[in-house]
Subunit: 365 residues, 2 copies
């Protein structure tokens, strides 16, 4: 029996066991081709079938219309931070940014190199920490912006938008969904561009999914490097150069796994149940566990909490690890504990964590 | 017994079977961590050991001094085509480019967006085809260039530099070694920057190795996007953002495999023997096989040849495939046949190909 722990890593993160088993089974010989998927031309019919299937499954699960293209790019979401403004702010246009965490802040920083950046809301407190999501009323939006950019879920802070901010008429919404894409169904129509690094809720590190509405392509700047232009990748179906074949292939298996589970409706139910159990354990022990963030802004994907002291937090994380519960250390910039409960985390893992939390609180409280 | 063919793909390309078997064995549980390498934080001690080992092995095999940094970047070699000039030509500096193939031409095209491009030699013939490598005397080099850029091996044309062009005093050499890095030992000292997409001679698609001499970092432009600056990646040891963990991990296994084979001396001997056998078969049947390129410029990595007709070429490729010899179709832009004999191609594969070539020539000649 293979040794597997319950892995609460924030990213790269746990993958469905059945997906890994399939990858393992076909690693030396992909579908009778006599070679690994890693050794196959990115233009071969066998790989093209994989490539197209990931696009089709994405469209199907998210309910995208024909007006969207699904792209696979390298360089991580951090590469999107400059690709977006270089394509869309060139010529001095303005981008609206809602800053609710470290990544949103980084995205806004890169945009300043290409155009005007208007911060529609900055949720950082005096210490630079992020503990809430602003309401629609708190947003100062520009009617003349080239786009409104925000991050749906903040992996480090443990906060998440539980509504979809409405942009002024004609302003497309651009979203970093790296840590919660595919966690539930949503209406894609307001979104001009959605991007997500794969290594949280989608697959292994090394590919970023970019979903772009075709009308956005007409707004992309000319005279920028070929690899930076979304037009290049849309026109060449993400095969202008060699795509990161293996990560894309694993993403395809994860999407098939979601579909087999019942699609995004079933996944959402499962995710809410998992998060509910952990927040329940935190709230049931208010003298011992403390959530540092606003209740309405709590993330369903990354659940953060504190213990009465940093020493107890260290002990908690170390003892949890010994009990087969890994990845519970909070991000180095904020400390504390964090459980990432992405799609692939099974309910059994969450139940084991909750049991451990209760026992630990009882023993040390 | 797993079905495996002899895979002559130009990239992504064949990997050592023992490497794939190791990856397969530890896919569900990396070194007793209870998770796959794909599910592991890029900042965990377990992954950091892998990351550092790939850097150490690279330095050791290539004989790099402490004045070089080994980086792992996403986006493919095509991303380097603009990163290099954006870092090094900003402010109107001049880059010298030797154009010996499709990829060198693309690199020069991107550089024009950032500074002056001087073509030190253009080897394209009237049809735009590349059939030779210029000699040192044929190069028109600029003493005031920010760098001299060339491509050591031309995957599509099937040509390869068999000498290392000397740049004017003080001009660093920048090289795209995507299709022949690690094929033999060379003196790294003239090189300011070496880059290589992994998917030919190094590992799976999704990571580009960049070897940069530290003094080049001082020449990098300020005020460019964070992810484009080599300084960002050098300062953060390629962990500014999530690195493409899985491709890097496989590259590490390939480098260990090279070391176990006896290092670059042994690999060079093996590569020359393989190429010698195939070129031998071509030259032994001059009425049937024809090399379209200059003899002195023949690549040891990508061996191209023509048959008396395109119909015979089609038959050759189809029958070879039936005999377990895959990936022999030339690049769509040049046609003909091509056998890529990267490091991982075993001599047995080459012998099987040569046997097939001889029999096919006899039957159809």
């Amino acid at each position: 029996m293979t040794h597997r722990i319950h892995n609460f890593n924030a990213g790269p993160a746990t993958l469905p066991l059945s997906v890994l088993e399939e990858v393992q089974a076909e690693l030396l010989d992909f579908k009778g081709c006599g070679m690994s998927i890693m050794e196959m031309s990115h233009r071969s019919p066998e790989y093209m079938e994989v490539h197209t299937e990931v696009q089709t499954l994405t469209s199907e699960l998210l309910g995208l219309g024909d007006d969207y293209k699904v792209l696979f790019l390298g360089g991580g979401a951090s590469t999107q931070f400059y690709m977006i403004p270089q394509n869309l702010l060139s010529g001095g246009r303005k981008g609206d940014y809602i800053v609710t965490g470290t990544w949103a802040k980084k995205a806004a920083k890169e945009a300043k190199l290409f155009g005007e950046v208007h911060i529609a809301h900055d949720a950082a407190n005096a210490d630079g920490k992020f503990t809430y999501i602003p309401t629609q009323d708190q947003l100062h939006l520009s009617p003349d912006a080239a786009y409104l950019h925000y991050t749906t879920n903040n992996t480090i802070a443990g906060t998440q938008f539980h509504y979809y901010p409405k942009a002024p008429a004609g302003v497309p919404v651009i979203c970093d969904m790296s840590s919660d894409i595919f966690w539930k169904k949503f209406d894609p129509r307001p979104f001009g561009l959605i991007y997500a690094g794969a290594q949280k809720n989608l697959g292994p590190a090394g590919v970023t999914m970019v979903i772009i509405r075709k009308d956005m392509l007409d707004r992309c700047a000319d005279g920028i490097p070929t690899m930076i232009s979304y037009k290049t990748h849309a026109d060449n179906d993400s095969l202008f150069n060699t795509a990161p074949v293996f990560p894309i292939y694993v993403v395809g298996k994860v999407l098939k796994w979601i579909k087999a589970l019942g699609g995004l409706g079933a996944i959402e139910k499962r995710n809410r149940e998992k998060a509910g159990l952990i927040y329940g354990a935190i709230d049931a022990n208010p003298d011992f566990f403390r959530s540092p963030i606003q209740r309405e802004s709590r993330s369903v994907m990354n659940i953060v909490w504190r213990l009465p002291s940093e020493d107890l937090e260290k002990t908690f994380i170390a003892e949890a690890k010994k009990s087969g519960l890994g990845g519970l250390k909070g991000h180095r910039s904020v400390g504390g504990c964090r459980a990432s409960t992405y799609n692939a985390m099974p309910i059994e893992g969450v139940k084991a964590l909750v049991g451990f939390m209760e026992a630990f609180a009882k023993k040390n409280g």
